[in-house]
Amino acid sequence: MKNTVVKIDNLVKRYGELVALDHFSLEISEGEIFGLLGPNGSGKTTTINCLLSLLSFDKGNIEIFGKKMAPTSYDIKKDIGVIMQNVAVFDELTVYENIDYFCGLYISDKELRKQYVDEAVSFVGLEDFLKFRPKKLSGGLLRRLNIACGIAHKPKLIILDEPTVAVDPQSRNRILEGIEELNRNGATVIYTSHYMEEVEQICTRIAIMDKGRKIAEGTKDELKSMIRNTETVNIELIGLTDDIKAKIAELPHVYSTEYDGTKLTVCCSGGKHNLIRILGVLQENDLGFGRVYSELPTLNDVFLEITGKALRDDADSAKKAAPHEKANKKENFR
């Protein structure tokens, strides 16, 4: 059985009346790439800040590497690497100096540090930019520098908070491959992102958060099995009447039908011959159709079904989030 690297137990964090984390619990085992998903304001960043002891909490307990995490747990912090959404480097230092500085906060031995920095440079492919200052780098290269600064000291636990925001597909692919390589080299990874396909691609286990609570957890397949949707049938056709649409809606396992004038979308839960039955109804009514395709549920479907489709960045959400953001700013940075 693998060791537990992170154990969050019943964590509660309040910002005044707003409950940012509501009895949140989580266990992450060694060697996992753990995806933490959730809409904006769901509590992902608060969880990470609590995990890193940069933020106090009202109730609960956090253990990392089997030890209780506290602001003074410097021995634990030495084995954690953090890569944030924002590029956190010095504009005044070169690429090499930046990586060396952040690595040096963990590794005091000069020789070892040099070796680690060289390895990190090579890992992110910045060999040709060592003497460049960050302002001279493109967005993708900056992200790679950001990652190098976070992993140069070879941490056992790497926390990545939306590291691929505003990155082109090539750089994103490179970053994801890098994360998988770090994991293969023995690091446990906590990964937060809004890009479901990324999480689906690299994460071995996923937790979905909303309103400070964990509302689902498991592997990709486990999560997909939790939702009602098992198959979405799409048929391109013209002239579908309400009567025929109603007949399709009454078929076994069909729980939702949508027609926009050119495409019929039918959502099914369970069943093996949904497509045949739907096409049968169309043929019975002498209705021709074009392209027909069936989709299995994605993580995106899981996410939307579990967290709902309502926008999270509307005015009400912003109003609610305001004290949270303010308190976060005040408390996070010493």
Binding site: L52, S53, L54, L55, S56, F57, D58, K59, G60, N61, A70, P71, T72, Y74, D75, K77, K78, I80, V82, M84, N86, V87, A88, V89, F90, D91, E92, L93, E97, Y101, F102, G104, L105, Y106, S108, C149, G150, K330, E331, N332, F333, R334
Partner: protein, 392 residues
């Protein structure tokens, strides 16, 4: 020592600003020294004037004599080409012809058409000469109208107009025997501006870069203790400021023409106290995490404002009482008082020097205390963090 090393690496990007300040400072001191040495006395400008007397009377001779007392009289051939050549090549500035009947007209109180003049262009001096001649004729006319005969009127008018206005020039020279040479006096005077500007415009951006939100977040995630981080930054700041001061003192020694000694060491101590004040003020300012633009504005306001009101750019003796009363609440005023006593601009008073140095030190302690207070308030977030943990 990673933070300490990074501090100096970030500071390296500000080296250009340091050099610019140093060069401008040295140039300013040298220029001011030479400018002041050359401007010791006042002298009225003398024109080269050629006078043709066609009247040949004692009155016209008296006018010629009057003109000659304030100007240099030149002889020229009374030929139009010669006169134009002389004016063109600057051999004379003004050619005056006293017309025939000058004396008779003057005696009759008629001042129109007494002279004719030729000049190359309307320079300030030649216009002034024309005005002087008109004034002379009017004065003679006034004396005649008052009942004097013409010879007495000419004599009195000449005497009245030759009375000099009293002009006093103020020199910054230490002829009164101060401990500082003129150049050293200027050096220590402008040091106020350089110390405060240099410190604020270089140290403040470095401290802000080191405490930039995202960078600090990442640093806080690492194994480094917050106290160690602050201590390394503080040590870097102190060493940088001290090194800057040492370099400036070396420049001062060079300007002084030898090591500072005796009473000059008081000026060195004075500058040291002001240097500590500048450093603490900078650390205090950076505690509020302003933007670079705000820093630039604050630096200009504090450095230039303090220098103008405390007697750095303008002598304290030229400043009004109300300005000086307000300046007493700034350390630069007391710094300048010490300087003035050392360079002989003010009477030396040992107890007043001690008092001024103590007041400066009090400013240092006050700014230091406020800085610590602000830092403690900032650190209270960390305390809250730990308290939260204990509660949990």
């Amino acid at each position: 020592m990673q933070v300490f090393n990074a501090f100096f690496k970030v500071l390296r990007s500000k080296l250009g600003i340091v050099l610019i300040y140093m060069i401008v400072f040295v140039a300013l001191v040298v220029v001011m020294t030479f400018t002041d040495t050359a401007s010791g006395m006042f002298e009225q400008e003398r024109l080269s004037i050629c006078v043709f007397d066609e009247d040949c009377t004692p009155e016209s001779a008296a006018l010629r004599e009057f003109i000659g007392k304030r100007n240099d009289l030149r002889e020229l051939e009374n030929d139009n080409d010669t006169i134009i050549d002389a004016l063109y090549y600057g051999r004379v500035d003004y050619v005056l012809t006293i017309g025939k009947g000058y004396s008779a007209k003057l005696a009759a109180g008629d001042t129109d058409g007494l002279f004719e003049s030729k000049r190359m262009h309307d320079s300030y001096s030649t216009v002034y000469m024309g005005q002087t001649l008109n004034e002379y004729a009017s004065t003679v006319s006034a004396y005649i109208a008052a009942g004097n005969d013409i010879s007495a009127a000419v004599s009195k008018a000449g005497d009245a107009m030759l009375k000099d206005a009293e002009v006093t020039t103020i020199s910054f020279d230490n002829s009164s025997g101060g401990a500082l040479s003129l150049r050293s006096s200027f050096f220590f005077r402008f040091l106020v501006y350089v110390l405060i500007s240099l410190t604020m415009s270089t140290l403040c951006p470095v401290l802000l870069a080191m405490n930039r939100k995202d960078v600090r977040y990442r640093t806080d995630c690492s194994g480094i203790r917050p106290n160690s981080y602050t201590l390394q930054l503080f040590a870097g700041s102190i060493i940088y400021i001290f090194l800057t001061w040492i370099v400036l003192m070396a420049v001062g020694v060079f300007m002084n023409g030898g090591m500072f000694e005796g009473m000059q060491l008081i000026a060195v101590l004075n500058s040291f106290i002001f240097m500590v004040f500048s450093a603490l003020l900078t650390i205090l300012l950076s505690s509020f995490s302003p933007s670079i633009n705000v820093i630039n504005i604050i630096t200009q306001v504090i450095s230039i404002g303090m220098c103008f009101t405390c007697g750095v750019f303008v002598e304290q003796s030229f400043l009004g009482e109300s300005v000086l009363a307000a300046a007493r609440f700034m350390p630069a005023y007391w710094y300048m008082r010490v300087n003035r006593m050392l360079d002989g601009s003010e009477t030396y008073d040992g107890s007043l020097i001690t008092q001024a140095l103590l007041i400066e030190t009090a400013f240092v302690i006050a700014v230091g205390a406020v800085t610590i207070l602000i830092r403690r308030i900032k650190l209270s977030d960390t305390s809250a963090l730990i308290a939260g943990r204990v509660r949990a």
